[in-house]
Subunit: 129 residues, 2 copies
Amino acid sequence: MNWLDEIKWDRDGLVPVIAQEAGSNDVLMFAFMNREALALTAERGEAVYWSRSRNRLWHKGEESGHIQTVHEIRTDCDNDVVLLKVTQRGYEPGIACHTGRHSCFFQRHEGGQWKSVDPVLKDPASIYK
Amino acid sequence: MNWLDEIKWDRDGLVPVIAQEAGSNDVLMFAFMNREALALTAERGEAVYWSRSRNRLWHKGEESGHIQTVHEIRTDCDNDVVLLKVTQRGYEPGIACHTGRHSCFFQRHEGGQWKSVDPVLKDPASIYK
């Protein structure tokens, strides 16, 4: 059986994907892949997602240069989520978020509010020219 | 504005949730919450999910005793994913997976196959009596 057939694709033909930084184990971002994106990710060793907003394949870093080298591809006990272990390229420390932050998960719940608690490492205007 | 209103609930009224172990930063599991589950999680300081298979609130550990103490609740740049920092209770080291493993993400892609690479820490038959 093909490993791609073992994934339980959702009603849109997608699977949720968590990208985790190798070494730090920081959760960098969350996105989706379709079958082709997952196949390409394994083939190239670089993360290729499915952009739901643009409705097309999205080679992470294609605009920003913030490519993700993929070291491991994992799935969970239900075969319906994918976890990538990646190195975030293009800047030191790695920037995974389009806001110029290390991780997309920079908002923390505090006293009934969401607070931005992580710094912008690079101005997004200089990332996306 | 209520922090719960800032979450972009999906068409089923749910938000995907990543549970990450405080300290190790291991990704333990992935599940969903509805608004009530997220409110209860913040209120109790223990993870309460929405079980899509059972169609009801699911206080993680209610059967297994493997409760998750929640230290942080984060959301991402799009407000459509939640990340929890938790301590996995009830066993040492923590067991988050119903298969008796530490993490649900125990299958790794190797040479075109999914391989189980992490050990079962406790027999599921003795977890769910």
